[in-house]
Symmetry: C3
Subunit: 162 residues, 3 copies
Amino acid sequence: MPVTLEAAQLFYEFHNLYARYAEALDDGPLELWPTFFADHCMYQIIPRDNFDRHLPIAIMRCESRAMIEDRVTAVNETMMYEPRYLRHHTTDLRIGEATDSTAAVKANFSVVEVLPDELPRILMTGRYIDRLERQATGDWLFSEKLCVFDSVLVPNSIVFPV
Amino acid sequence: MPVTLEAAQLFYEFHNLYARYAEALDDGPLELWPTFFADHCMYQIIPRDNFDRHLPIAIMRCESRAMIEDRVTAVNETMMYEPRYLRHHTTDLRIGEATDSTAAVKANFSVVEVLPDELPRILMTGRYIDRLERQATGDWLFSEKLCVFDSVLVPNSIVFPV
Amino acid sequence: MPVTLEAAQLFYEFHNLYARYAEALDDGPLELWPTFFADHCMYQIIPRDNFDRHLPIAIMRCESRAMIEDRVTAVNETMMYEPRYLRHHTTDLRIGEATDSTAAVKANFSVVEVLPDELPRILMTGRYIDRLERQATGDWLFSEKLCVFDSVLVPNSIVFPV
């Protein structure tokens, strides 16, 4: 298949979007996170075993942008957790079916966690299985973001979104 | 050197290829793996120390696509190993000499392994040193894929290709 | 915002530059490292806590290309350290303000370290906060490279640049 100019531009556009998404999570402010989502959307973090067996149990699930905003409030104001830094690597981005206004995108991710006085460790690896919608403004937003993580062991410290 | 449109498109094309390659290894089916290779090809996983000293010993070596297909059969049917998940990160892709029909490409990779009830750990890091050939169909396939891994310690659990 | 062809080409150009930068550090020769910098430049490796609090203490600081060249000499000729291999992953590259001749670029990085007879481990994760200048030759060089690493614990083994 020949690569069109449009495909190369879309690739750049999504790469840039995913990089800014990671930046919002790693370097904040976390209030930026909901701005990547459409009003009607679904965000889930789900273990790979469940995903493969079509089991619906997710360790984080937000069914609208409003719920995503609630999650930010919870992280910032009500949850108790040890301070930590996170660093995402988003790689191997691949664009599936795409029209002028919708696109299916997958990518690999890892999240490295740094706790005070500890060396960095891998908190989670996995893949994003996403759907994006282009808005009237021309911007792309997530209508669906599914974070399928590879671990069987569920980390008890998932405070922050992925 | 000015960047041509062709170079930017090729960059997109190879990025996409390497992402789909990683996807085949991480998320399967493993039967997809041989489809990335030309009939006449060479696939090797070789430790960096050997590579630097021009020693030929590889920990995995397939001298044709047929041997690569055999490897898939071995992994799926005859080898004994603990179940595990893998996740690749392919980064820092760099295109070397390229013509209309051949290209030299390098990239960094890491493979994170997740065993049941264990946290993710880095199995291997290294670089790909590859040659690609464009087919009559327009698709690019690997004529040579050399996976040079950084470890001195040879993991005894290399079941899956990299 | 619509993505211009120029933006997509610049994205390719910087991706390529960062990949070759990582290659120089991981696979050498280290003498290539200074060639990525303008004569007048600033290179720093600084902990995130200091960066966030505007504290200037860096664990490596070079205030010109000449100092960067000195650092190479130090690593190659005067410093004592255990042999090791490094592997960078540069991801999530994002281009900020850019003109024909200057650009602000950020990216995430991790450095994996492999010591003899040990498994790979993450030495450092963080982000690059960089400024680049296009030279009369058309090449882009770093006028400023700030490596902000996430760890609170300062590794005592930072021999090589990041």
